[in-house]
Symmetry: C2
Subunit: 345 residues, 2 copies
C-alpha cells in the first residue's frame, strides 16, 4: 500500500464498487450511502489514494487555484498580506499560485497569460496596475480578478484599498495640529493610485488650513530613492515635518535625517508614514503612521473574489477601508491629542 499512484479505479476494484461511486464519495456535494462510503474510504486509505486535483480541474472546470501576482516583497507590508491571503484562501479550500511581477510593464502581460494557462478560478493583483487590454483578456477567459491595494478607473474592476485620501488627510491634520508649517511630502511611484490618493488627501487638508506643500520629492516606494529624496529635501530650507507615502520610505527618511544630517526626530523634524508595518513599532523608530487594516482588507478581497467565482453575476465592488492614525514617537504630539489607537479588526 501507499503506492502513491492509486487511481479511483484501483479503489473501486478493491472496494467492490464502480469507479463513479468512488468519485462521488470524494465529491463534496454528491450522494452515496454510508455503506459504500465506508467501503470506499477504507479501500482508499489502504491504497493511499487521493483524488488527482488536476484531473478533477480539467473535467469540472474549476481548479480551486487562485493566481496571486505581487510586485515587491521588500516592503514588509506585502509579506504580511501574502501570508494572510494565503491562509484565508487555504481555509476556504483554495490554493495560491504565485507570480512575481517585475514592475516592468511588459513582463506582467506575460505573467497573466501564464496564470491563465493554469485555469485559475480567479486572480488577485496586489499593488500592480493592469492594462485595460489585460483586464479584457481575463474577462474573456471568464476569470474574475480583484485588485489589492491598488484601484483603477475601470468601474468593472473590483478593488480593495484602505481609504487613502482619508489617511492622507489624517496625517496632515496631525502635523498641522502639532504646529508644523513647513511640511514636506515624499511621494511613492507616480503610477500608483495609492500614491496619488494619499497625496491628494494630504494636500487637500493642508490647503483647507491655508497651507501648501513646503517641498515635494519622489521616493519611488524604495529605500534608496527615499534616502535621496530626503537629502534633496533637506539640502536647503529644510521642512519641519515630512509625510512619506509609505512606512518603508518613512523609515529610510528617518535614518537619513538622523544619521546623515544629524537631526533629531521629532525634535527637529516630525516624520509620519503609511501602512504600519512591524518595523514601525520597533523602538528605534517608533514611527507615527496611518495603519492599513490588513486583516479587513484581506477578508474583503477574499470574499469578493470567491463570491464572484461562485456566482458570476456578483457585481464588482470597490472598497476603501478606513484606517486609524497610530500615534507613536516620530512626530510631535499636539497638546491634548487623544491617542486611541484601536486594534486592526
Amino acid at each position: 500500500m501507499l503506492k502513491g499512484k492509486a487511481t479511483s479505479f484501483d479503489v473501486a476494484k478493491l472496494a467492490g464498487v464502480s469507479q463513479s461511486a468512488v468519485s462521488r464519495v470524494f465529491t463534496p456535494g454528491a450522494s452515496a450511502s454510508k455503506k459504500t462510503a465506508d467501503k470506499v474510504r477504507e479501500a482508499a486509505t489502504k491504497l493511499g489514494y487521493r483524488p488527482n486535483a488536476l484531473a478533477r480541474a480539467v473535467v469540472s472546470g474549476r481548479s480551486r487555484i487562485i493566481g496571486l501576482v505581487v510586485a515587491y516583497l521588500e516592503n514588509q507590508f506585502y509579506p504580511d498580506v501574502l501570508e494572510k491571503l494565503s491562509n484565508a484562501l487555504q481555509e476556504r479550500g483554495y490554493h495560491v499560485l504565485i507570480f512575481m511581477a517585475a514592475q516592468t510593464a511588459g513582463r506582467i502581460d506575460e505573467v497573466v497569460d501564464e496564470i491563465l494557462d493554469y485555469q485559475v478560478d480567479g486572480i488577485i493583483a496586489a499593488s500592480v496596475a493592469l492594462s485595460s487590454e489585460l483586464t479584457e483578456r481575463c474577462n474573456a477567459a471568464g476569470v474574475p480578478m480583484v485588485l489589492f491595494n491598488r484601484s483603477q478607473d475601470d468601474p468593472g474592476m473590483s478593488a480593495v484599498t484602505s481609504d487613502n485620501v482619508a489617511g492622507g488627510r489624517k496625517a496632515a491634520e496631525f502635523l498641522i495640529a502639532g504646529g508644523h508649517t513647513k511640511i514636506g511630502y515624499v511621494a511613492g511611484w507616480e503610477g500608483a493610485s495609492t500614491q496619488r490618493d494619499r497625496e491628494a488627501g494630504f494636500v487637500r487638508a493642508l490647503e483647507a488650513h491655508g497651507l501648501r506643500l513646503h517641498a515635494r520629492e519622489v521616493g519611488q516606494f524604495t529605500t534608496e530613492a527615499a534616502r535621496e529624496a530626503a537629502r534633496r529635501m533637506f539640502a536647503q530650507d529644510p521642512p519641519d515635518a515630512v509625510f512619506a507615502a509609505n512606512d518603508h520610505m518613512a523609515l529610510a527618511v528617518m535614518d537619513t535625517v538622523r544619521f546623515e544630517l544629524g537631526l533629531d526626530v521629532p525634535g527637529d523634524v516630525s516624520v509620519i508614514g503609511y501602512d504600519d508595518v512591524p518595523a514601525a513599532d520597533w523602538p528605534a523608530y517608533a514611527l507615527t503612521t496611518v495603519r492599513q487594516p490588513a486583516n479587513r482588507m484581506v477578508a474583503e478581497t477574499v470574499d469578493i473574489l470567491l463570491n464572484t467565482i461562485e456566482d458570476t453575476n456578483t457585481p464588482p465592488r470597490r472598497i476603501a477601508i478606513d484606517g486609524p492614525l497610530i500615534v507613536r514617537g516620530s512626530a510631535r504630539v499636539p497638546d491634548g491629542w487623544e491617542t486611541g489607537k484601536g486594534p486592526d479588526t
Copy 2:
C-alpha cells in the same frame, strides 16, 4: 476571436490541420514543418488559443508546478528568498504553488497532502522540518523534495543551507578578538537545525579559546521572545556581548538593550546576528552579522530540485554554503581587523 476558451481542435480546424499537429507546435521538443507551424500559430493567435496547462499535466505526468512550503514571512530573510526562488523557477518554466505551514506540526502533514494532490513536480520546504513519515509519502509519490535553510539527518534528503557551524564560529572569533569575555547567546527555536548548528559552531569556538557561554536564553526566532530573552539575560551579571541566532532576534535584542535598559551598543555591549537581512544595514542598527548567501542558496536549491525532476537517478545532495561576516557597527571591531565584506555572488 479572443473567445478565451478555444481548444486545440478549434485551432486545428481553422488552420486546416489535425489536432495533434496543433499539439506538436506548442510542445517544445516536437517536430512540425515551418509551414504548419505558421498556419497553426496564426490560427491560434486569431482565436486567442493557449494550451491548457492542467490538461497537459494530466496526460504528460508533469505539471511544471513546484510546491513551496514556508513557515513564517515575518523574518525578512524569507520574503527575500521567496522572491528569488519564484523568479528562478519562473525563468525555468516552473510555477510556484505556495503553502503557509503553521508551525504546528500536525497541520504540515495536511499541507503536504494537499500539495501532492496537485501533482507537483517537486517540493521545496523552507525552514520547516518534516516527519520521516512525510518524507516517505513524497518518496512513494515519486515527488522529489529539497530542504531550504534546514537540514535533516536523513541522508536521502537533499538540503541546502549556509555553513551554519562555520558562521557561528566566525561570530565567536570576532567577539573574542574584540576582547569580550562575558558572551551570551540568544537561541532560536530548539527544533531547528540552523539553531543547533549555529550554536554548536559558536560554542565550540568559544571553548577553543578557553571560554564558555556566559548566558543562554531562548528567543524562538521571534521578536517578542527575543526581547524577553534579552531582559532575562541582562537582569543580573549582564554579558558584554551577545550573539543572536538570527538577525530578526538580534534587532529585537538591540532595541531592548538600548531603549529599555539604556545601554550603548556597541559601547556597553556588542551584538551580532545571522542572515544579513535588509534591516541589518539600516543606519539605526548597523548590525554586524553573518551573511546567508541567499542568491547562491536559491540557485543550488533550484538546480538540485530540477535536476532530480529531470533525472530521477540524481543522487541527493546536502550543501552548506559559506557566508562572510559582515562587519558593521553593532559590535566592537578588533584592532587591525580586515573588513573585506564581499558581495553575495
